[in-house]
């Protein structure tokens, strides 16, 4: 009767409704904050209030601290955990589980839509920040390579974090709190532990792919003992796949009770 893949149907429908959602508009505003900061630094640089070249350094700092340690995990948390949690909160899961579609297709379709939405938000913010910082270097291939590196790493980070939080959302109803604890507790602290301990964080593998920002002997980064880039890419991909497989495993088996008025 149909040649349409249910995964694709779900992906397209939830990407469309995600683009219209109020929450997405809120995150667009949040994603613009770094770009606005970047523009502010450029203006200060132009007026001579800060030394010339400060915007280049600021761009690297901005990417590392604001995007990779804050915005990307937080976006992944809200979009990833929302894949299942939103359906439970709105009691809409029943519509997706009373159709002849495997639950894995439902979860993967929604995950891909959430990932793409978050990726678009991050990419737009990156591009704006980059344009603001490197306006006079747009012909410089090195500047574009740097943007490519940041963007590629951001996608890997989003893939991995979103998969983790999708699994968490499939496992428990109120997963945001635990997710926030993971982002601001575990990830923020353990990444600075010496030796192999820091490898138990996702952010370690992300940072290993990024150039160390100027001032690398500062307190926040002095403990980073980067892993080889290829190993980091593979680790992030494998972790993402494992978290996603776990999410599917849970979602296919778990009984979700949508009402207490049984």
């Amino acid at each position: 009767m149909s040649s349409e893949s249910p995964l694709r149907v779900i992906f397209a429908a939830f990407l469309r409704s995600g683009l219209r959602a109020r929450r997405t508009r809120l995150f667009i505003l949040l994603g613009l904050v770094p770009a606005l900061l970047m523009i502010a630094v450029r203006l200060l640089e132009g007026s001579g209030a800060v030394e010339t070249g400060a915007s280049g350094q600021f761009f690297s700092h901005l990417m590392l601290s604001l995007y990779f340690q804050l915005l990307i995990p937080v976006l992944a948390l809200f979009f990833g955990s929302g894949v299942v949690n939103e359906e439970l909160d709105n009691k809409t899961l029943v519509y997706l589980t009373s159709v002849p579609v495997r639950r894995r297709d439902v979860l993967l379709g929604k995950y891909l839509a959430a990932f793409l939405l978050a990726a678009l938000l991050v990419a737009a913010g990156f591009l704006l920040s980059f344009l603001a910082s490197a306006l006079e270097r747009l012909g410089d291939a090195g500047a574009w390579a740097e943007l490519g590196l940041f963007l590629g790493t951001a996608l890997l980070a989003l893939l991995c974090y979103s998969a983790l939080f999708t699994a968490l959302g499939a496992f428990m109803k109120k997963s945001i709190l635990l997710g926030l604890f993971f982002v601001f507790g575990w990830e923020s602290v353990v990444q600075y532990f010496p030796g192999v301990t820091q490898k138990f964080t996702i952010v370690h593998w992300i940072k290993s792919l990024l150039p160390l920002p100027p001032g690398q002997n500062s307190f926040l980064v002095f403990q980073l003992q980067p892993s080889p880039p290829m190993q980091s890419v593979l680790t992030l991909l494998v972790l993402g796949a494992l978290f996603l497989a776990l999410a599917v495993f849970i979602f296919e088996r778990k009984e979700y009770i949508l009402s207490d008025n049984a």
Partner: protein
């Protein structure tokens, strides 16, 4: 003939709270009313049937197949849940079209199926609006459209008339009856007896998680009609009205309201009492302002039937 639904010793509880207990039931084509007060276990039963909940003990099969973790079954089954839930950002048309596509319809066929389902529930014109702008009754009709978009052989409807305006209530009841006439199976739940009575004579009474009675509604109706009812009447001349009513042997007691503007009548023969009351109320100068039946709800009837 194989039953459409077969439940055997079906039990479900949520922690310490009992959902349903030891339900054994077979349902065939036609309309079956699932009647019981709020919290009786109707929704739990329908959710297990719709594969949304896993039985704790016992089994439930639709068309001979278990419903839990069996998505393929939904090609033949439609489920209209009781929750007032919706994708607020989607339009009504997009929502039904999404479900049509997930049911296996593609392209023009999907649009045609979605359009037909929306037209059936009177939402074709407002289909382009976001669901969050719909009234409660419209969302209820939208859920119904979603459950019939693939024209299932078995329709599970959990309180489908809740919040629907009187006109659409009649139309939806007619739609359900049409499904029954087509030889499909419909299981429809409600806590309102007349609603079920208007759709089918085959009912299952469910109370405190158990099947209390099953069969023809007329037999159950007989039991219910012998239940001593209380009816309150408000008006300016309650004593005159009481004097007229008390002549009938169907009245077993009368009590006047403290404010002198009402009375409560006890009767063991509901239908005869109401016939007489309506006749008196229609007389010029009767002054009957309001008639209410404080214990005429399903819980009271069930309490009576189980001998509380």
């Amino acid at each position: 003939m194989n039953p459409v639904l077969r439940a055997e010793k079906l039990c479900k509880w949520y922690g310490n709270i009992l959902g349903i207990s030891d339900i054994t039931l077979e349902v065939g084509p036609g309309i079956t009313g699932l009647l019981g007060p709020n919290g009786a276990g109707k929704s739990t039963f329908l959710k297990i049937a719709a594969g949304q909940l896993k039985p704790k003990l016992g089994s439930l099969a639709l068309f001979g197949e278990p419903s839990w973790r069996n998505p393929g079954m939904f090609r033949r089954v439609g489920f209209c849940p009781e929750n007032d839930s919706a994708y607020g950002e989607m339009s009504g048309a997009d929502f039904v079209l999404l479900l049509a596509r997930l049911h296996g319809f593609a392209g023009a066929r999907a649009r045609e199926a979605a359009g037909k389902a929306l037209a059936t529930v009177g939402l074709l014109e407002s289909g382009g609006r976001a669901v969050k702008s719909y009234s409660f009754g419209m969302r209820q009709r939208l859920r119904l459209a979603a459950s019939i978009v693939h024209e299932p052989e078995l329709l599970l409807l959990d309180e489908p008339l809740r919040g629907v305006d009187p006109l659409w209530r009649i139309r939806i009841m007619e739609l359900i009856k049409e499904y029954g006439r087509q030889g499909r199976a419909v299981i429809v739940s409600s806590h309102i007896l007349p609603e079920i009575e208007a759709m089918t004579s085959e009912i299952v009474l469910i109370h405190q998680g158990k099947i209390f009675a099953k069969g023809d509604i007329h037999r159950i109706r007989g039991l219910i009609d012998r239940h001593p009812h209380q009816v309150s009447v408000r008006g300016p001349r309650p004593r005159q009205l009481a004097a007229r009513l008390i002549d009938g042997d169907f009245v077993s007691g009368v009590e006047f309201a403290a404010d002198g503007r009402g009375l409560t009548v006890r009767t063991g023969q509901r239908d005869r009492f109401f016939a007489e009351l309506m006749r008196l109320a229609a007389e010029p100068g009767a002054g009957v302002e309001e008639i209410t039946a404080p214990d005429d709800n399903l819980q009271a009837v069930f309490d009576y039937l189980i001998g509380k």
